[in-house]
Each structure stands twice: as structure tokens, then as C-alpha cells.
């Protein structure tokens, strides 16, 4: 039982590249899942049942099945129609998954904004759409921030799962390096440490964001 972190240092640039890919994916997915989740929530609450039921079904389906199964479905399902790079499948899969979770949060927070806000805004001359966009949604968004933060922290950890469909993120990059150096323990320890550090930073960021927006809640 001897540890040799030499190979990890040799392959550190590869790992960093993987980290970069993971960061890029996480960034796009964060944007996609928050904006998409908000849209899904607004549409499923305010537009008629014909549109909202499929959306509710989508949220329900993505929340009750595991991410990996969804990824495989997208990977093979989309692969049947078009040639699509793994990273795009990964972004779409992770994006849809967390879009459903975020939409669920937004639905709850939109409903928690009191009806009086809507009525007051309408009586001041705002239209239906303008009320939703300028009055309801901003308040709901602020209230959703703590839970959104939790979801985004979970999401960053879940980027590691994308290696299963061949997205070249941190775990995938290390698997290549491990197959060459046969040092799985050292590599995975380093990767776990990297994820832990990222997680700590994200938790600090979340706490800061919550402090900044606390007075509006």
C-alpha cells in the first residue's frame, strides 16, 4: 500500500481541462435550468390546461426517474435521429432534469406571492402580462433563491455523472489517466477534493447571495 501522487501531477493539465469542461457545462445548465424552469412554471400556472398538463407531466416524470436513465434515453434516443456530440446531450439531459426541479420550486414560490399583489397591480393599471412579469415573477424569484442555490450545488455534483455518456469532464478525464497510470485511488481522492473545494465555494456564494437578498424576502 504505497501512494504515489506523481501521476496525478503529471496528468493535472488533463484534469484541469476536464474541470474546465465541467465548469462550462455547469454554467450553461445553470442558465438553461433557471430560465427554463421559470418559463415552465409561469406557463404551467398562467396558461390554459392544454399547455400546462404536458408541462406538469414533464416535471413529474423528470423528478421521479433517475438522471442517469434520462441521460441514456436522450443519448440513444437523440442518437437515432441526429449525430449529436455527447457534451450537448449532457447539457440537455442535465438541463432538463434540473429545469424540472427548478420549475417545481418556482411554481411553489409564484403561488406563495399573495393574491393582493396581483389585484393591487391590476387596479393600478398594469395588464395581466405586465403584472406577472414585473410584479409576481421578481418576488417569486427572490423567494426561490435559497432552494435554487441548493439545486445548483446538487447540479454541479451531478456533472460527474455525465462521464457515463462520454462527456469529457473531470471524472472522464481521470478515467483516461487512470487507464494509463493504474492509480485509481490517488486520482479519485484528488477529484473528490476538487469537488469538495468547489462545493465549499458554492456554499459560501449561496450564503452571501442569501444575505444580499434577505431584506427583500
Amino acid at each position: 500500500m504505497e501512494f504515489d501522487f506523481g501521476p496525478v501531477i503529471t496528468y493535472f493539465p488533463t484534469l484541469l481541462k476536464g474541470l474546465g469542461v465541467g465548469f462550462l457545462v455547469a454554467l450553461v445548465v445553470a442558465f438553461m435550468s433557471i430560465v427554463g424552469g421559470l418559463l415552465v412554471a409561469v406557463i404551467s400556472i398562467y396558461i390554459n390546461k392544454v399547455v400546462s398538463w404536458p408541462l406538469r407531466f414533464f416535471i413529474w416524470l423528470f423528478m421521479t426517474t433517475p438522471l442517469l436513465l434520462q441521460l441514456y434515453f436522450l443519448y440513444f434516443g437523440l442518437g437515432e435521429w441526429i449525430l449529436i456530440p455527447a457534451i450537448l446531450v449532457g447539457i440537455l439531459g442535465l438541463g432538463f432534469h434540473y429545469m424540472a426541479y427548478n420549475a417545481d420550486i418556482f411554481i411553489a414560490t409564484i403561488k406563495s406571492v399573495s393574491d393582493g399583489q396581483y389585484e393591487a397591480s391590476r387596479s393600478l393599471g398594469f395588464g395581466h402580462g405586465a403584472t406577472i412579469f414585473y410584479i409576481i415573477v421578481p418576488q417569486a424569484f427572490i423567494r426561490a433563491i435559497p432552494q435554487l442555490g441548493n439545486n445548483m450545488i446538487l447540479m454541479v455534483k451531478d456533472t460527474s455523472v455525465l462521464s457515463a455518456i462520454g462527456v469529457a469532464e473531470l471524472v472522464y478525464a481521470s478515467q483516461y489517466a487512470i487507464s494509463v497510470t493504474f492509480r485509481p485511488f490517488e486520482f479519485f481522492i484528488v477529484i473528490a477534493t476538487l469537488y469538495y473545494l468547489i462545493n465549499i465555494f458554492m456554499e459560501l456564494g449561496q450564503a452571501w447571495l442569501e444575505r444580499q437578498t434577505a431584506y427583500r424576502r
Binding site: M1, L61, T64, T65, P66, L67, L68, L69, Y72, F73, F76, G77, E80, K157, D158, S160, V161, S163, A164, V171, I178, R183, P184, F185, E186, F187, F188, I189, I191, A192, Y195, Y196, N199, I200, E203
Partner: protein, 218 residues
């Protein structure tokens, strides 16, 4: 939709679903013990033991389950920890969910009004007796709900065990999709099975919750 294929693969998927249930149930059972152990360690007066428990929880919650699984399965042998895939899935699942669960349990115990414990103590109940007959029954309702949510997380996490080649639902689904090129049919079936499992767990939680709150009025 190719219904003949769906009928054909259903037995295979059901068999795999049992493995998913098996691995999740065992993980939940051992995870509960791990969680209780962690809660117990955090009640120690000797600070380093508390720090150890806090540190463990923080690290487990701060790293992906997937990486933990790979670390133990592939990295384990180099520190003398050789586990077969199924056992590895159960053990890592238990130690992972245990960290989350200990937070849930601690939270529900702390949510019980301190006056309850103080009153019991002043009536002559011992420390353990106070915990068992006064605090825990009141914490149970909240505990069941939050542990139940984690049970569902555990079921969904169990899909990742397919990566270390345990033949459970996701592994079987992926293999069948790969061999039949019918992703929609296989996905529909396997998603349905996950949904059934998740709803069964939710039903059990609801029953347990009702039983725990049968004497309390809402």
C-alpha cells in the same frame, strides 16, 4: 411503439428492478444505522469526536456520490478494500445517505421544544428515557417525512451503481437500449418501474407518518 418487444423485455426489467429495490432497501437500513451513529457521535462532550462527525458529514455531502462510488470501487483495492459491486453499492449508498440522514434526524430532534425534555428530566426521567419516550415520539413525524425524502433519493441514486456493473434497472435498460435500439420503449418501461418504486416508498412513508401522528391533532 413496439409492444411485442416491450412484453418481451418486461421480465428482464422486473428482475433488474428487484435488484434496485434490494440495493436501496439494504442501503436505507444500513444508512439509518450510520445516521444514528453520526447523531450519537455529535452528542459527545469530547470535541474532537464531534469534529470528526461534522467533518465526515461535510465531506460526504460536499462530494458527488458518483465519485465516492468510483473511489471505493476502483480505489478501494489499493488500500486493501476489495468489495464486490453489489456490496460496494450498498456500503457506499449507506455511508452516503447516512450523512444526509443524520442531518435530517438531528434537525427533527432539535425541532422538539426544549421544555419537553426539561419537564421530563425534572419529573425524574433519566436521560435515555427522556430521549426514548418523550423527545423521539414527538420528533418522529418530522423525521419520517425527511428520511422518506432521502429514501427516494437513495432509490434514484442506486441507478449510478450501474456504472460499476451491478445489473440493476438502469444497467439493464442501458444494455437493452444498446442491443435493441428502441430507446423510447425501454425508457417508458424502466421509467414506469422507477415510478412504481418511488410511489411505493411514498405510500409507506405516508402510512408511517399517519401512524406516528395518530395521537396528535393537527
Amino acid at each position: 411503439m413496439d409492444f411485442n418487444l416491450m412484453v418481451e423485455v418486461t421480465p428482464l426489467l422486473i428482475k433488474a428492478a428487484w435488484v434496485t429495490i434490494d440495493i436501496s432497501a439494504r442501503g436505507l437500513l444500513f444508512g439509518f444505522f450510520v445516521a444514528c451513529g453520526l447523531v450519537f457521535l455529535q452528542s459527545f462532550r469530547f470535541a474532537p469526536i464531534r469534529w470528526f462527525a461534522r467533518g465526515y458529514i461535510s465531506v460526504v455531502r460536499g462530494t458527488p456520490y458518483f465519485v465516492q462510488l468510483l473511489l471505493v470501487f476502483y480505489g478501494g483495492p489499493s488500500i486493501g478494500l476489495k468489495l464486490d459491486p453489489f456490496t460496494c453499492g450498498v456500503v457506499v449508498g449507506a455511508f452516503n445517505i447516512g450523512a444526509y440522514m443524520s442531518e435530517a434526524i438531528r434537525g427533527s430532534i432539535e425541532s422538539v421544544d426544549k421544555g419537553q425534555a426539561e419537564a421530563a428530566r425534572s419529573l425524574g426521567f433519566g436521560k435515555v428515557h427522556t430521549m426514548v419516550s418523550v423527545v423521539l415520539p414527538q420528533a418522529a413525524a418530522l423525521m419520517i417525512r425527511s428520511v422518506g425524502v432521502l429514501a427516494i433519493v437513495l432509490v434514484k441514486n442506486s441507478s449510478l451503481v450501474s456504472i460499476i456493473s451491478v445489473v440493476e434497472l438502469t444497467y439493464q435498460a442501458q444494455r437493452l437500449i444498446g442491443s435493441t435500439y428502441k430507446p423510447l420503449e425501454i425508457f417508458t418501461l424502466s421509467a414506469l418501474m422507477y415510478i412504481v418504486i418511488v410511489y411505493a416508498v411514498m405510500g409507506i412513508i405516508e402510512l408511517a407518518y399517519r401512524r406516528a401522528t395518530r395521537y396528535t391533532t393537527q
